[in-house]
Symmetry: C2
Subunit: 506 residues, 2 copies
C-alpha cells in the first residue's frame, strides 16, 4: 500500500480510500443475453472479485443512459467500506475520482477537493457559514431551530446551499464535473453536523444535552441535498458529546491522538473550546463555554480578523506597539490582539491580577464605559476614534481563559497527573493558530510549560477530514477513538465551579 | 409459526412478515448516562437480541421527538430481511403495524392495507392509474417518457400522487395513521414498476427491451415519494423480462407455480398477455402483444366493463341473447362480450373459420364499415344505435387469440409437451376472471382441455403482493422463481410468426 505524506501533523497516512475505481468492459445486451442492466453490471463486478455489490436507487436510475452513452465501457466507483460493496457512480472509462472534505465551522465553511488516486488536495474554497444569519453561535441557532418545525429545515437548507456553491467553485477550479466527486467527509460540531444531516437539535439545547446520533453516519450525499455523483457517499465521523463534535475527533486524529502513547493535551479554542487529554493510552474530553471573545464579539472594539484589526500587541522599552492585519491604521482588535493586550497590560501593571484597570496609569482614562485603557489613541487609528480595552473586555477574557483552564485542570485530575507531565500541547483552530503562546500562558489560558512542547496546528479538523477521505484505517480509528474517550460533562461537574472561579484571576 | 389461510390460491402462507414489532423500555438520558438517542436505542435493541440494527436517516431524524413524546417507552418496527436488521419506525407502545400491498395495473391501481399481526386485509381501495392521461398502454407511455427528460418524472409523480391518495383512503377506512404503515410491496408490469421506482424506461422501448433492474428492489418508501412510516420499506418482486413483470411473478406465486411439480399453464390476459408454463420443476415464460381488444379498445362498439356493456352473449334455440352489466339496455360491448359474440358467431355460421362475416346471413348488413353483424338492433339499445360486430372487430380478436395461442404453443414446445399434458390452466386478471372459458376455448385462445382443469383466479397479482407482505418465505420464493424462469423472447423467435399466422384461423 502506498503511504503518503499528506499535509497533517500525524505522520503519514496510508493511501487506502474507501471509494476506488474499477474499469469494466460489459457485453451489450443482445438477443442471447437479455440480462437487465443492473444484473449485467453486478455480473461484471463479481467477475472482478467485487462480491454482492449493491446498487442504490440513484445509481440504478442513471445506469441505463450512462452504460449506453459509454458504449458499455465504464469506470465504476465502488465504496468498499459498507456492509456490502456499493457502486456510487458510473463514469466514462479512466475518469479521475475525487473526494470532498468539508469542515463546517460555526462561522466559516471550508471545502477541499481531494484526488483519491494521489491523496492530494487539488482545490480549496471557503465561505461564511450562511447559518450566521440565524445566530452567531450554536446555542442561538438551536434556539432559532426550536421556534418552528420549519426553522430547523431552513438552517439545513441554507447550509447545504452554501456547500453546493463551494462544490461549484471547487469543480471550476479543478476543471472537473460534480459527477466525479464520489465520496464526501463532513466534520463540524455536534449541532452543525446534526443540522447538516437533517437531524433535530432541540435535545442538544436542553439538559442533559445528548446527541440524536453519535456514531459515524454513512449517508448518501444526495440524502442531505449535496449534489455530487449520483450515489456519492457522505461520511461524518462520530461525535463525543453534544458539545464535543466530529470536528474535534477529526482534529484529534490529524494530531496523532488516535494512537499515541505520549501524554498530549489538545485544545480547539473557539466559542466552545473542546479540550482532550491523552495519557497512558486513555483519552478524556470536555467542552467549555469559552464565549465569543476570541472572535472579537462582546469586546468593546472587538472585530473579526480582517484588515485593520490589531492582531499583535508588543512592548519595547515600555512602549506598546500594535500590529494590524494588512498593516493599515487600526480600526479595532481581534482575538489574538486582545489576548496580547491583556498579557502586556498585566506585565505593564495596567491590569492587576483580579482584572481591574489601574486608574492611575497614564494610558487609562475615564470613559462612558468606565475606566478604559487607550491602546491606540484616535489620532493613530483608521476611523479617528480611540481603540480601547475596557474592564469589561478584560472580564470577557477572564471568563474565557478561566473556563478553558478549569476544563484542562479537571482532565488532568481525571488522569491523575499534573500539567508538568504533559509532553505535548496541541492548539488547533484559526484562533489557536494565530494566538501568541507567551500571551496565552501569561494570562493562564494554557499551562505554563516550555514552548517547545506546544504545537499550533491550524485547521487540523479540515486536515482530519481530508485524511478520512483517503484512509479506511482512519475511519476505523475515528470510531475507536470516540468509543474510548471518557467524556466529562462540566456543566454539572461538582468541581467545575470552584476551579473556574479560582482560574478567573491572572 | 402461525400458518394462515390467506385469501389466495396457493394454500396457506406462513405468517412471518419481514417487519415485526418490538416494545422497548429505554432509560431516559441522565447525567450518568449521556448516550446519544441512537446509541440508546441500538443498545435496547441489542439487549433484545437484535444484532447490529441499522437506523436510517429518516428514523434517526424522528427518534429524538418520538422517544421523548412517548416517555422512552416505544414500539419499534424492525425489518429483518435486510443485510442488517433495520428500524423502520418508532411508534407508541402497542401500536398495530400495517403493510401496504399495491397492484399497479396499466389501467387500474389497487391498494390493500394488511394487518401484519394477523395477515388479514383490513381495507381496500382502487382508482384509475393517473398515467392513463399519458397513454392507454405501456408502449405509448414509454414513448411519452422519451419525449423529454422531465416526462419520465411526470409519469412517476402522477403515479405516486395517485398511490398516496389511495393510502389516505385506506387509513381513513381503517382509522389508522400513515406512520403505522411500516412496509410496502408493489407489483406491476416492468415498465410501470420502473416508473414507480423512478428508473428510466427508454431501454424498455428499444430492442432488445431489457430492464434497468430485474432483481427485487428493497427501497425506502420515502425514496420514491410514498408517505408511510419514516423509514418504511418498499419491496418490489423481481421481474422476468422487459414485458414479463413483477405482477406476473406475484401472480405465479399466488397461484402456486413457485413450488409445484404439476404441469401448469398460467396466463395473465391483457394488452400484453404473459404466459408461463411449469413442467417437471422447470418454468418458461413469454409475453405476447395481444392488444387492447379485451379492454374494449379498437372494437367498433367496444367499451370498458361498465353499465350497459354487453358482457355475455348466449344463444337459445338459434336466438342470440345478450346480458349487460347493470342489466340495462346495451350501449356497447366489453371484452368478455366480444369474445362470446365471436364464439357464438362461429357456432351460428355468421363468422367463418377465416374470420369473414357471412354476407348472406340475415343479421349481417352492409354498413359504412363493411359487412357487420347486428348483435343488438337500435330499437333495443340504450342509445338508439345498432350494436355491431364488424369484420375488423373479429380481426382484432383473431390477432389477440393468435398471439396468445402462439405464445402458449412455443412454451409447450420448449417443454417438449403437448397441451393435453397440462394438468391445470390458471387464468388471471380482471378479463381472465370474467371471460367464458367455453368461448375462449371455442375461438382457440385457450387450449381445448376439460373445463375442470381451468381455474379463473381473479387478481392473483394483488393477492401475491399481500402474501409477500406477510411472508419472508414468499420473498425468497419470488427471487428463486424469477431466476429459474427460462424466458422466451417472441418478437425475435424464429418460430413465432409461423405459429401466429397458423393460429389466426378459428
Amino acid at each position: 500500500m502506498q503511504r503518503l505524506q499528506l499535509e497533517g501533523q500525524a505522520g503519514d497516512v496510508a493511501l487506502d480510500p474507501p471509494v476506488v475505481p474499477l474499469d469494466l468492459q460489459l457485453r451489450a445486451p443482445a438477443l442471447d443475453d437479455l440480462r437487465a442492466d443492473a444484473t449485467r453490471l453486478v455480473g461484471a463486478l463479481e467477475s472482478e472479485g467485487v462480491n454482492e455489490p449493491h446498487l442504490c436507487l440513484p445509481v440504478l436510475a442513471e445506469a441505463p443512459a450512462r452504460l449506453r452513452a459509454q458504449g458499455w465501457s465504464v469506470r465504476v466507483a465502488v465504496h468498499r467500506g459498507q456492509a456490502r460493496p456499493e457502486v456510487v457512480a458510473i463514469l466514462p472509462i479512466q475518469t479521475a475520482l475525487f473526494g470532498l472534505a468539508i469542515d463546517v465551522g460555526t462561522t466559516k465553511l471550508a471545502a477541499y477537493l481531494v484526488d483519491l488516486s494521489t491523496g492530494q488536495t487539488v482545490a480549496r474554497a471557503g465561505a461564511m457559514n450562511p447559518q450566521i444569519a440565524f445566530g452567531e453561535d450554536v446555542v442561538s441557532r438551536i434556539s432559532y431551530a426550536n421556534t418552528a418545525p420549519a426553522a430547523e429545515r431552513v438552517l439545513h437548507d441554507r447550509l447545504i446551499e452554501g456547500l453546493n456553491r463551494l462544490v461549484d467553485e471547487l469543480c471550476a477550479q479543478a476543471g472537473i464535473e460534480r459527477a466525479s466527486i464520489v465520496d464526501a467527509v463532513a466534520v463540524g460540531n455536534t449541532a452543525t453536523q446534526h443540522l447538516l444531516a437533517g437531524l433535530p437539535v432541540r435535545q442538544l439545547g436542553e439538559a442533559p444535552y445528548v446527541a440524536a446520533a453519535s456514531e459515524p453516519l454513512n449517508l448518501r450525499a444526495a440524502e442531505v441535498g449535496l449534489q455530487l455523483a449520483a450515489g456519492a457517499t457522505l461520511y461524518t465521523p462520530p461525535n463525543i458529546a453534544g458539545y464535543v463534535g466530529a470536528d474535534h475527533v477529526a482534529m484529534l486524529l490529524a494530531s496523532g491522538l488516535g494512537d499515541t502513547d505520549r501524554t498530549v493535551l489538545a485544545l480547539d479554542i473557539g466559542t466552545n473550546t473542546e479540550v482532550s487529554l491523552a495519557h497512558g493510552g486513555q483519552l478524556w474530553s470536555c467542552s467549555t463555554a469559552s464565549g465569543p471573545a476570541f472572535e472579537g464579539a462582546h469586546i468593546h472594539d472587538g472585530m473579526r480578523a480582517a484588515p485593520g484589526a490589531v492582531e499583535r500587541v508588543g512592548r519595547v522599552d515600555g512602549a506598546f506597539l500594535v500590529y494590524t492585519i494588512g498593516d493599515v491604521p487600526p480600526v479595532g482588535i481581534c482575538g489574538s490582539g486582545i489576548l496580547d493586550a491583556v498579557a502586556q497590560g498585566l506585565e505593564a501593571g495596567i491590569i492587576d491580577s483580579r482584572g481591574a484597570l489601574s486608574k492611575n496609569h497614564p494610558l487609562v482614562r475615564r470613559t462612558g464605559h468606565g475606566p478604559a485603557w487607550v491602546l491606540v489613541p484616535a489620532v493613530r487609528t483608521g476611523h479617528g476614534r480611540d481603540v480601547l480595552i475596557t474592564r469589561s473586555d478584560v472580564h470577557e477574557i477572564q471568563l474565557a481563559k478561566g473556563a478553558i483552564r478549569a476544563g484542562t485542570e479537571l482532565l488532568l485530575a481525571a488522569a491523575g497527573i499534573q500539567a508538568e507531565a504533559v509532553d505535548d500541547v496541541v492548539v488547533a483552530g484559526a484562533f489557536g493558530t494565530y494566538l501568541d503562546l507567551g500571551s496565552a500562558i501569561r494570562v493562564g489560558m494554557l499551562p505554563s510549560l516550555p514552548k517547545e512542547r506546544f504545537r499550533q496546528v491550524g485547521n487540523a479538523a479540515g486536515r482530519g477530514a481530508q485524511h478520512l477521505l483517503v484512509s479506511r484505517e482512519r475511519r476505523t480509528m475515528a470510531g475507536d477513538l470516540a468509543r474510548r474517550v471518557q467524556y466529562l460533562e462540566l456543566t454539572t461537574h461538582g468541581e467545575f465551579t470552584n476551579r473556574f472561579v479560582a482560574a478567573l484571576s491572572f
